[in-house]
């Protein structure tokens, strides 16, 4: 136990405390000067329009991911588990999971090509099915860039949560379903009043994981747009990187990191509280 305590305190907890200290300084790495600026970095944070844009993008990420990767995946999992043949159940679970096994870098680069205005699959496909008017420079337009990235992330992530829901649904005792069918409950009714409440714990867990994940988004944005065009697809993670490592403002980057910390901590606590309160026993 001691070793994990040391590792965690040294490399996980201490840096978070240190981050707050760094966020009250400004440093010039070339001269080595460190200025203590108090809360000036936080003041700058509030007045920085890109921070608000990034925050909005993170929330959009969280919201859309909850719709597709939690509720969408739940319905999909229930549908798959409702199939009669075990072989097909396994088949679909595995097929939908494949993108989750691939790194975000690969899928990000892949969708970067798919979204390309000239050689991309998406615009070519739209053209072919007569929806040519929808053609966009998906990653190149300030209106669509972040949503194109979020769409890629749904493509990649829904199979993982579907698999977890499938596991949770398998744990519901078979007899409960049989009894519900005897009572004449249709598939939608069974889904809503039996499967859903009995997997609530999993749903709660998935919501936490999804929100926390949405506030740590970095890789896909970095690979696909680098935060552009005009910072429109910037998220907190990439803006932190841009400030800390490109523009040499470690202190300001640390202040942005503090925002990520607060948001993820709050969602974590709120969700733990919620799942505890609404726990269903069987």
């Amino acid at each position: 136990m001691a070793i994990s305590l040391i590792v965690l305190c040294w490399f996980v907890y201490y840096p978070i405390v240190d981050n707050f200290l760094i966020s009250t300084t400004e440093e010039d790495i070339f001269t080595g000067e460190v200025l203590h600026v108090g809360l000036a970095n936080y003041e700058r944070l509030i007045n920085d329009p890109v921070v608000w844009r990034a925050l909005w993008n993170n929330f959009a990420y969280a919201g859309l991911s909850i719709v597709f990767q939690v509720f969408g995946a739940f319905v999909l999992a229930a549908t798959i588990e409702g199939l009669a043949s075990d072989r097909w159940r396994r088949f679909w679970r595995a097929v939908y999971f494949i993108p989750s096994a691939i790194s975000i870098t690969v899928s990000g680069l892949l969708f970067y090509f798919i979204y390309q205005p000239k050689i991309g699959l998406l615009n070519a496909a739209l053209e072919n099915i007569g929806l040519g008017f929808l053609i966009q420079p998906w990653l190149g337009s300030e209106q669509t860039a972040i949503y194109a990235i979020i769409a890629m992330s749904q493509w990649q992530g829904f199979g993982y949560s579907t698999l977890l829901f499938a596991v949770a649904i398998q744990k519901i005792p078979r007899e409960l379903f049989d009894a519900a069918i005897m009572d004449g409950a249709g598939p939608i009714r069974r889904l809503w009043s039996l499967t859903f409440p009995l997997t609530r714990e999993m749903t709660g867990l998935m919501v936490i994981v999804t929100i926390t994940g949405a506030f740590q988004v970095f890789n896909e944005v970095m690979v696909m747009t680098g935060g552009g065009p005009n910072n429109s697809s910037q998220v907190l993670g990439t803006w932190l990187y841009q400030q800390g490592f490109i523009e040499n403002n470690f202190g300001y980057g640390a202040a942005i990191a503090a925002v990520v910390f607060v948001v993820t901590l709050l969602t974590g606590i709120a969700q733990l509280w919620y799942t505890k309160r609404r726990r269903v026993q069987w």
Binding site: M1, S4, I16, S103, V106, V167, N219
Partner: protein, 286 residues
Amino acid sequence: MVSTETAAPVKETSIWTAVSKAFLWSFLICLGIVVVYPLLWMAMNGFKNNVQIFGDPFALPTHWSWQNYVRAWNQGVRDYVVVSVLVTVASAICTVMISAWTAFGLTRSKLPGKPIVLIVVLGGLMLSPTVALIPLVKMFQALGLYNTFWALIILYTAFRVPFTTFLIRAYMLDLPSELDEAATMDGASEGQRFWRIILPMCRPIIASCIILHVLFSWNEYIFAMVFTSGTDMTTLPVGLTAIMAKHGTDYSVVFAAMTISALPIVIIFFATQRYFIRGLAEGIGK
């Protein structure tokens, strides 16, 4: 006439079921195509050349030569794979050993302070690597570990121990306590109980923890990008973006490199699917 009237409702339901079944299957199949087609497209583009990629994105390659794959392999992918394998294996061993030992302490020992350790470990689940990024860079620079394999191994271990411990602990809680009580009676030390009795019994969950860790560290990007900067320290995900930057105009090589990097992990998943799902089923939802 009478017979059709009575038969009608039955027929209607069966048509209804058939229609909904058809709808369901076509939905599953369409979704499957959306999932799989881009990946096939990626692999196929590795066989084309630039002119073909620019020409018709849907066309099949005209000839199946491995030339682009060989070039991608020789122009960096091989080195990235070596680094990725090294970091993945080392951090998987560290993570799983530390986590198993911690979970053992949390469930099977009588040490004081267990609740505090539990809070520290599980609290780590909520902390994100992004928040610690800047302090960690400074710390590793000061320790002289910046741009070394150790940096990645330590970080991958530290940030995966909470989740892995969480999974193994849940599994250990369900193991019967009579076994190690008997062993204690026979005078077995704590270490002996861990290595001889508990660890072997945890094999299924250890297997799924290893798979989950491999999945994580093979694909990790932010630490690998920030904490390493030399070409000989580059892991696959970062290496791919480097290839993209260097061979930006040679798309077929980039596609081939992407396919090579995706393939092993997909194969591992299919080969270990049963273990993986069973492990998750045991671990999550407790």
